[in-house]
Amino acid sequence: MAAASASTFVPPRQRRRLRRRLTDGLGWTVSTVAFLLLGAATISIFWAIAARGAHALHLAIFTQVTQGTAGGLLNAIEGTLLLAVGGLLLAIPPGMAAGIFLAEFGASRFAPVLRFMSDVLVGLPSIVVGYFVYIVAVVDLGWGFSALAGAIALAIISLPYITRTSEMAFRQVPADMRDAARALGATDGHVILRICLPIAASSVLTGVLLALAISVGETAPLLYTAGWSNYTWNGHLTHEPVGYLTYAIWAFITEPFQSAHALAYAAALLVSAFVLVISIASRMLMAASRRHSR
């Protein structure tokens, strides 16, 4: 305000300098506040989870299965890994194929349709995906709550992330690499599989890790599809519900027993630690691939 009223007296260049200093200051303030807020939120979340979880985390969590609202979380740890990895295995082939198609044949008539569908899928609430898989797989196909139904729900949720990162990764392959390959008599297929794929692999893997982190943390779509089980997996893909960590958080935190709370805290700590580790791994991967490409 002071700057505005004084402006009639200030020569234009100085006025510009004043305005620049003001916007500079504003920018600094906003980014500092944002940084502090974000930092405070992250740290306090991890603090709260770690403080409670650390008490609850004893060896039995990893060696015993859940008994009612007590026992361990072996069944849930195993189920979470099973569902997340299964979901990825289902999502990677079509997701990468769609991403490669969008990157390499983006001018095709189908490309906008595919991209639109992928965008819709990103925005779709995960509980709606769970509901859809429940109707189709659990009820209509009669699979019941099962590993396969849960993995399919997670695959649908991961699909657009894998598509997007694959597309980006393939687009980032420098044009002169493709030209060099073509000039040596490479076909389109060779260019995609033997040049772009190796060059893009680490970026694609970053996207896969992101999808893995999302899958590990998903709850809603699994409630309808995987169900819950106190037992470790017996190898059946259908007709056999599986446990998972986020269920333990969701269901046990509202139970009126100390043992149930302990399980919920331990599960929350495990999920968070897992997501943190995956994030750090993908960061390291990105840094390594950047160093490599230079």
Binding site: A107, P174, D176, L184, R194
Partner: protein, 274 residues
Amino acid sequence: MPDLDFRAAVTRARPAAQPAAEPAEAVATREVNFYYGSRQVLFDITLTAPEREILALIGPSGCGKSTFLRTLNRMNDTIPNTRLTGVVRVEGEDIYAPGADPIALRRRVGLIFQRSNPFPFSIRDNVAYGLKVNGLAKRKADRDAAVERSLQLAGLWDEVKDRLDTPAHALSGGQQQRLCIARALAIEPRILLMDEPASALDPIATSRIEELALELKTRYTIIIVTHNLQQAARISDRTAFFLSGRLVETAPTQQLFTNPGRKETEDYLTGRFG
């Protein structure tokens, strides 16, 4: 007896007389026009590159040298909305005839780019890439032999033989460009196209590339685009001068540089424009 002597003399004379005859054409174009979309950038280019000679293409920036070079291995096909009319023959074969295979053509006509572009693989895998995609030298021993031979030809073997499995990007700029030449030579092309292969290199690396081109001339036909007139004068047998998408003149290098037939050529060579 004198009769026999005479015949022997004729037989002896025959090989010596051959170079005087018209050398075979490696590449010949007739009235080539080329368009990016609706914009025409090459006009009626009729040009011949004799076998085992170095043909230099010179001319101001944007006159169409690279575009012309890329019509010779159909690399322009990879750019959407381009069109070519006219005839391009490579070793007598019309490469734009319906049914002609651009992939097979590119095996015979190698291309070296202005900026070296090794793949982010090991030195060995770079040189072996063309062999792999073309299904050549499938046995490892054959492939290793081809890698060594190509690196030898490119004058790089002694510098890299102890580190074939290290990343190509660790090489110097000049070494990377020679690696790209080795990579192109591995699939035994007949013709080598070079688009300003030394423009990003220092004088020493440049002279290595020039020596290499002169050595390779004994086996390959080379067509080289260059901005460096001294370079064209040093290494080429014939020079073609392009201006605004047209071929102004083509002549033996010596003749073109000392006694150009056209005024535009003389203006360009004396630096009056361009």
